[in-house]
């Protein structure tokens, strides 16, 4: 029986966490042949990070190609690419967003002034701005619980308050962190564990024995907009 990929990645993750932060390079490989476009990853991400309307860390781009009767659809899941040379961090006027030693680009919600320059600078549209919207507040007679429940990004509790829309993360730029808060607890990102097709791989790209590094070494691999020199940490298997 072949080894279960999730269990293998779990062991890889434990091994990576035993190493110093600077020696990890978190990366993702997405096998486009296995993606069925079900958007389970998008939903898992929404639930895990409790993101409001208009804030999407992860989307699945859909495209229809060919002409009838030879038509097919193509899916491209797009988390943050966690670039090695991120165009978004350089333009931040207050150093609120930066690339960590382990390759994850993070935002300091306590510093971000909400100018949205990083949104304009990201070539992948991976950043969102929290305009302070809610799914049900002011929309339906009863306010849903999920609108008021907290998110735990960066290992902290963030409570969005409809009465005071000047509390972080409202008014801040927000983005995918490869579920950093889960990684620190030894758990894989939500989009990885939820993928029904087993199309996603995650781990330490610096560790040649990890499943993700082996997948990324395939000759059928590509990255998005390589011509911009951003060096993404997300690879796609064709």
């Amino acid at each position: 029986m072949p080894e279960n990929a999730l269990l293998r990645m779990q062991t890889d993750l434990k091994r990576a966490l035993g190493q110093p932060v600077a020696e990890r390079h978190w990366g993702m490989v997405i096998d486009l042949k296995k993606c069925v476009g079900c958007n389970a990853c998008t939903i898992a991400c929404k639930v895990e990070n409790n993101t409001p309307p208009g804030v999407t860390y992860h989307v699945v781009l859909e495209e229809e190609i060919g002409r009838y009767p030879n038509v097919t659809r193509r899916f491209l899941p797009r988390p943050c690419q966690q670039c090695e040379h991120p165009p978004c961090t350089r333009v931040c006027p207050v150093n609120a967003t930066y690339r960590r030693a382990d390759g994850i680009v993070v935002i300091d919600y306590d510093v971000c002034i909400g100018c949205r320059y990083c949104l304009a600078a990201c070539p992948y549209g991976a950043r969102s701005f929290d305009f302070g919207e809610f799914y049900t507040v002011g929309q339906t007679p009863r306010v849903a619980e999920y609108d008021l429940s907290s998110s735990f990004e960066y290992g902290q509790e963030w409570q969005r308050d409809p009465a005071n829309r000047n509390t972080s993360p409202i008014g801040n730029a927000r983005k995918c962190t490869f579920c950093l808060h889960r990684l620190e607890k030894g758990m894989l990102p939500a989009c990885i564990t939820t993928c029904i097709g087993g199309a996603r791989y995650f781990g330490n790209l610096n560790d040649p024995d990890s499943l993700v590094a082996q997948q990324a070494a395939s000759p059928h691999v590509m990255r998005l907009k390589e011509e911009l020199g951003t060096e993404p940490s997300v690879y796609y298997l064709l």
Binding site: V55, R90, C92, P93, V94, I113, Y117, G132, N166
Partner: protein
């Protein structure tokens, strides 16, 4: 008061009330009412900001024609140009300030700036420009303040305050003022080119947006600033 002034005053008060209502909503509700989203991160308020900052830079550069390069026949428009530059600059800064997600954190740009960001450069340059404009306007108006402060009453006191207590209004003092204006203007010309070119650079460095990503952008901004500033002063 003439009928026209009353009408303008009422119009101004109505506009002010509408503005105050909007500001209260903006502070209470954050940006949740602006109705644009992450795919278009900058919208109308940024457009207004760019528009007014261009008018400010343009008006200032026109004023420098008079005070630095000695085009005497535009003399009459000089003070108006400086005043227009000041008003447009303040309007622009208010627009970009309310567009920030967290208005109260704006001082972070001074306290922990990142100089790899053109946005941080221009905020510093705008600040320098604001002080320069205030100084230049004061030196242009000082003699009038000094003359009028000789009258008594509330107006006299106000003018005395505005003149900062300096009563000198001889021709020699006027010449001295103009010398200072000339120096300030000379500093201002490269400053205006820097901050408005910098405003263009904010857009020009974004590799993600193909239509912005061009070395021509800062120059385009400067040319349109000159054209729009000149046009505004002609209209006024």
């Amino acid at each position: 008061m003439s009928k026209r002034i009353v009408f303008v005053l009422i119009l101004g008060l109505v506009a002010l009330a509408a503005g105050a209502f909007g500001m209260v909503d903006r502070i209470g509700m954050g940006l949740s009412h602006v109705a644009y989203g992450s795919p278009v991160p900058w919208a109308l308020w940024v457009v207004f900001y760019i528009y007014f900052i261009g008018l400010s830079a343009g008006s200032f550069l026109v004023s420098s024609l008079i005070y630095v390069f000695g085009f005497k026949r535009f003399e009459a428009a000089g003070r108006l140009a400086i005043f227009t530059a000041l008003v447009s600059l303040l309007t622009a800064l208010i627009f970009i300030w309310v567009d920030l997600g967290r208005m109260e954190r704006v001082f972070a740009v001074y306290l922990r700036p990142s100089f790899t960001s053109p946005l941080a450069w221009i905020v510093w340059l705008y600040t320098a420009y604001l002080f320069l404009l205030l100084a230049e306007a004061w030196f242009l108006m000082r003699r009038d303040f000094a003359q009028r402060s000789k009258g008594g009453g509330l107006k006299g006191t106000l003018y005395r305050l505005l003149a900062l207590g300096i009563q000198e209004d001889s021709a020699a003092a006027r010449a001295g003022d103009m010398k200072v204006v000339r120096v300030l203007g000379a500093i201002g010309v490269p400053l205006a080119i820097a901050f408005h070119g910098g405003t263009g650079a904010v857009f020009a460095v974004t590799v993600a947006r193909a239509y912005w990503y061009s070395g021509l952008f800062p120059i385009m901004f400067l040319v349109s600033a000159l054209a729009s500033g000149g046009a505004l002063l002609t209209q006024l």
